[in-house]
C-alpha cells in the first residue's frame, strides 16, 4: 500500500508548559488524556478513526496561526501545545451552546440524564444558559427496532455510532443523509432501523452514543447508563500487538 509506514519514535513535547514524552504515532489528544490534561471532545472515541468534526478539542499549537483539533494531529518533537486559554474556553462554550440550540435537549426528560457526555461537558465548561435562539427542528423518533430506539432530537451528529458499526462491528448500518443543519442519521439506505437487513443487534452504537439519542427500549428518564465499549483494548487483543 502507498502510505509509507514509519516506525514510531519517542518524542518530547510541552503541553501547557509541562514537559511530556510520547510516541510519535499518538495524537495530541491521546497524549493529553494520558497525562490527565483536560481537553473536551465529543466526536473522538478511543479505538475509532478520528474525524475532527466536533471542534471541541481545538488547541493552540505554537507557530501555527490556526487552531488545531487535538484528535487529528500527531505529536512531534518539541511541539508546544496550549490546551487552556480564555479564547479556547470561549469557543468551547459557544460550540456546546450551538449544539443545545440545534435540536431538543431537555435533560430533565432524557433517558441519559446524568449519564450524558454533552451534559457533563456543558457543566464542566460552565455553560449555564443558551444565548442562541433554539432552532426546534421537527425530527422523529425511530422505535422500530425490537431492542433499541433512536431519538433524533438528541443526536449531535458526532458519527461515533457510524464509525463503531462500520469499523468495529463491520455492519455499516448507520450513515449520514443530507447536508448542513438538515443532516440526519440513517440506517441502511434510509429504512427504519427495525427493518434493517444489516443490523446485528450488537448494541455497540447504543453504548457508544455520547447522548441519549440511541438507547435501550424500556429505559426511563435517567436510566440509560452506557456500558462504554473498550474498542482500543479489543483491537489490541485482536491484533495481539500488546503495546
Amino acid at each position: 500500500m502507498s502510505p509509507t509506514m514509519t516506525e514510531a519514535t519517542v518524542v518530547t513535547l510541552k503541553i501547557d508548559d509541562r514537559e511530556i514524552s510520547a510516541r510519535s504515532d499518538q495524537t495530541v489528544l491521546e497524549v493529553a488524556w494520558e497525562n490527565d490534561v483536560f481537553v473536551p471532545a465529543l466526536c473522538h472515541y478511543e479505538g475509532l478513526g478520528d474525524v475532527g468534526a466536533c471542534r471541541l478539542c481545538l488547541v493552540e499549537i505554537k507557530g501555527s496561526p490556526k487552531l488545531t483539533p487535538a484528535c487529528a494531529i500527531k505529536v512531534v518533537q518539541d511541539m508546544e501545545v496550549i490546551t487552556l486559554s480564555e479564547r479556547l474556553q470561549k469557543y468551547r462554550r459557544s460550540i456546546i451552546e450551538l449544539l443545545f440550540a440545534e435540536r431538543n435537549h431537555i435533560c430533565s426528560v432524557c433517558v441519559s440524564n446524568g449519564h450524558c457526555e454533552l451534559q457533563w461537558l456543558a457543566q464542566k465548561l460552565g455553560v449555564d444558559h443558551i444565548r442562541y435562539p433554539y432552532l426546534y427542528p421537527k425530527v422523529s423518533v425511530d422505535a422500530s427496532h425490537e431492542r433499541f430506539a433512536l431519538d433524533h432530537n438528541r443526536c449531535i451528529l458526532c458519527a461515533r455510532c457510524v464509525r463503531a458499526c462500520d469499523e468495529v462491528e463491520g455492519a455499516h448500518v448507520w450513515d449520514l443523509l443530507g447536508r448542513g443543519v438538515d443532516t440526519r442519521l440513517i440506517s441502511d439506505l434510509g429504512t427504519p432501523w427495525g427493518e434493517s437487513e444489516t443490523c446485528t443487534t450488537c448494541g455497540k452504537c447504543v453504548h457508544i452514543c455520547p447522548t441519549g439519542a440511541l438507547f435501550e427500549k424500556g429505559k426511563s428518564v435517567a436510566e440509560m447508563v452506557h456500558a462504554r465499549p473498550r474498542f482500543a483494548a479489543m483491537a489490541r487483543v485482536r491484533n495481539n500487538s500488546g503495546r
Partner: protein, 562 residues
Amino acid sequence: MTPEELTLAAEKEENGSRAFEHIVGVCTSTACLASHSDKIKKEFDAQVKAKGLTKSVRVKAVGCCGLCAEGPMVYVESQADAEKAAETRTYAHVSNEAVPALVDSLGAAPVADLACDTAQPFFTRQHKIVLEHSGVVDPERLEDSIQVGGYQALLNALTTMNPADVVDTIMRSGLRGRGGGGFPTGLKWSTVAKAVGDRKYVICNGDEGDPGAFMDRSVMESDPHRVLEGMAIAGYAVGATEGFVYVRAEYPLAVKRLKLAIKQAERAGLLGANIGGTHFSFKIDVRLGAGAFVCGEETALIASIEGRRGSPRPRPPYPAASGLWGFPTLINNVETFANIAPIVKNGAEWYAALGSGKSQGTKVFALTGKVKNTGLIEVPMGITLREIVYDIGGGPFDGHTIKAVQTGGPSGGCIPEAYLDRPVEYETLVQLGSIMGSGGLIAMDDTSCMVDVARYFMEFCMTESCGKCIPCRVGTVEMHALLTKICEGQATMTDLEQLEELCDVVRSTSLCGLGQTAPSPVISTLRYFREEYLAHIEHKTCPAGVCSGLKSGAVKAKEVVA
C-alpha cells in the same frame, strides 16, 4: 503523434484553413446556446450550401468569446486578397433571420446593425492567455487546437525537458493557484514530485461552486484540450500516470466536450499510452460531482471521487502527501492548468514579467452586477478594480453610482468604491478584507443593500454547509437568522454583538474553508458599511430601499451614532 508529426498536422490544418476565403465562427457555449446559437450555426451551413459557397466559406462552432450578455456572438475572419487586407468582424445579437444578410455581406460591407465594436475597452483592456483560443477554436475538433499550437508544449516538455525542469519552470513563473487560495503552483508541484508513493494522481478541480461563477466552465467548454494538456504536463512533472477531471454534473456541455477531447487526444497519441512516442503515459478520466459547493474543497472532492460522502477531513495530511486512495495527489484548478502550456511554451520569465507584486500572469473574472458590460474577462494581474469596473465594465448604469465590488463569492468580501484604485493582487485583496477567489466579481451600486448582500451569501453557506462540524452547521444558521432579523428591522444592538461574536467563532473553529470563510461577507460589510447595519437596527431604515417593510432612503449622518 511525434513532435514532427504534430508540427506537420498544424501546418496541414493551417493550409486547409487558408483555402477558405472566409471563416465564420458561431459561439456554441452555454450562454449563446441558450439563445439557440446551434440553430444559427445550422442556418449558416444551409445558406452557405444554398449559395454554393462551401468551397470558399467554412462555418464552424467555436467557444465563448466573453461578451455573453450580447450573444449570440458570431465572428467572420476574411483572408487578404488583391483588394482588401485580412480582417475579422464580430457580430452581436445575431438571429436566425439575420443569417442570409450576413452570408451576403461576406466580401462586401459588414452588416452595420449587428456589428460589435471590438475597439471598445471591453476588448482592448483584456489580456488573454487562458482564454487566448476560447472563441477561436472549435472545441470539438482536435485539429483546430493543433493548428493554434495545442500539445506542442507537452511534446516539447516530454522530449526536451526532464520533470525537474518543468517543476522549476512553473516555480519561476510565479503562477499561483487560481482556485481561490493562491497557493504557489510550483511549490505544490515540487511537493508532490518529492512525495513517495507507488502511484500518484493529478486532479483537475472543475467543481466551480461559487454562485454566479462560470470561468472554469467556459474554459472547459471552449478549449478543453488546453486543460488536458496542462494536466498531462503536470503528470509528467510530478510523476503521475493517471488524472481525473472533476466536473459538476450541472455542466453537461463541459463534460461532453472534455470526454470527446480525451478520446480525440488518445486516438492521436497525445494522451494515453506512450504520448508522442515517448515512454510517458498519462490517462485522464472525467468524474462527475453532484453539485455541492463543498465538493470543491480538495479533501471533500477526493472523498467524492472515491465514492464516499463529500465532506472535508482535517489537514494535514495534505493531498500532496496522502490524497486519492491514500496516494500523493496533485490538485489544481481548471484555470491553473490552462496556464501551464503557455508557460512551458513561452518560458517562466515571460510569465513572471506579467502582473505585479507577488501576483503574476492574468486572472479570468466573471464580471456581473450593476455595470453596463457583463461577461467573461481576462485581465493582467495588477490592473485596478476601477479599470475593470469602469473601462471594461463600462461603469454604472445611468443615474447610478458604484458602491462596492464583491470578489471571492461567499468566501470573499465587499470592497468599497474608495478603494477601487487598488490593484488586483492576492495580497492587496486580502488586506482589503476580501480575496482573489476563483473569479467572481460583482459590481454593486446604490441600489444594493449591503446587509442584504451579506444575508444572501450567508444563506448560501448555510445551505451548502456539509454539516460535519458544529460551528459551521449550526453557526451559519444562527448567523443567517440574525441577518434576517436585521433586514426585517427586528434586531437590536445585542443581536449585532451576537452576530460579531459568531463570526469569530465560526471563522476560527470550523473544519474547512467553507466554514472558516463563511463569515467573511459579514465581516467585510461590517468593516466598511457598518452605518447600513445601524440604519436597519436603530432607524428601521434600509438606505438602499431593498429590505421590504423598512423605510428607504438615507439616514442623515448625524442621526447615526454608533
